[in-house]
């Protein structure tokens, strides 16, 4: 089941190859937080995001449309 949540905090990391976004996401239903990579459009604090299909070994989310 793909998870959804709200961005609690976020950053874009520079200087380690291509810049990438990390977000601390408060997951829907329970208030548990999860650190994730955000793909695509940059997610802002308070924005809704959802998990996306990924072959990577860590959770990847994207902005919910």
């Amino acid at each position: 089941m793909m998870r959804e949540g709200i961005v609690w905090s976020e950053t874009v990391v520079h200087g380690m190859g291509e810049p990438y976004q990390l977000a601390l996401v408060e997951l829907q239903g329970g208030g548990r937080r999860l650190l994730v990579r955000v793909r695509g459009e940059r997610a802002e604090v308070g924005e809704r995001v959802r998990e996306r299909e990924s072959a990577s070994e860590y959770p990847e989310f994207e902005v919910s449309k």
Binding site: S9, T11, V12, V13, M16, L22, L24, L34, G46, Y58
Partner: protein, 380 residues
Amino acid sequence: MKRVHIAGVGKTAFGVLSGRGLRELAGEAMEAAIGAAGRDRREIEAVYVGNFDAPSFTGQNHLGPLVAGAAGLEGVPATRFEAACASGGSALFHAVQAVRAGLYRNVLVCGVEKMTGQTTARVAEILAGAGDADSEARLGATFPAIFALIARRHMHQYGTTREQLAAVAVKNHWNASMNPQAHLRKVISIEQALAGKPVADPLTLYDCSPVSDGAAAVWVTSEPGEVEVVACAQASGALALADKREITTFEATRRAARRAYEEAGMEPGEIQLAEVHDCFTIAELIAMEDLGFIEAGESGAWVESGATGIDGSLPVNTSGGLKAKGHPIGATGVGQICDLVQQLRGQAGERQVARRDVGLTQNLGGSGATSVVTILRRTV
């Protein structure tokens, strides 16, 4: 319980100390501390070493005997303490407890780290080991990234600004410019700090402490002395950022501070100066709040007002802090004690503060999973 004093302190300069290894750096700091104490080194009954990750940075493990030997102290128990960036503070905490309990009368604490000579990427990888390997390091959450997440939340929750973060860097660079042992002695402006190379939004290069080499040593004793350790408390909190109830405060610092103030029988308002763990500018702001110097969310405006400058109501990081004095990880917590003792003894030169009876140090490990708070008082 025995009362605990500091017999002597010593440190190397912090910076890129090419061609000088762990043994040499530790030896220089310990010799300086022993010399400052003016006592016979044969009185030292144990050596406690603060070090984060010499095996990864230099390939050297088993630091206890290596460091003890560098000061001609072979034979005494010699042990390494690791608590990420609070390794030095943790070694001091355990030494103080041992002397208080009467286990030893004299313990030499030495913090040391040799970090330079690695690529930036390798340093970032080693430092990431201070966080949660599964949920943070694996995702590319470097320490600047972790503190950027903290800063972003503080800005969102309290309205803290980039200019207020920059004000911490400007103040600490100014202080370091007058400290001959500091790594970065360049005075910077708010504009320069704001225009720094982006590292992890909203943090730029000027929000980050440098990668430094260095060592510091403190002789802890049950004999009376000029400076008394009236409190030394260590506490822990959740390791991973995602597991913390709040990320704009560090529970470990609040717990350690509460215990330290209780031990000392003091209130935050009685502290006259402080050396706090500003690995990133946001960490100094949060330290102000967690130590009870200012209400949550008000530290940014407070620093911007000049209150924490050398001539302010509470001078903070008069040494230049980790931000500009440098941050050789294992040495940092011990170095803070050296800097505070220098101020309490009235030996800080151009950086000397006016009120110098009671001061505090705070040494943080990881993203706030370990914190050590120490309060020192001048006795004469």
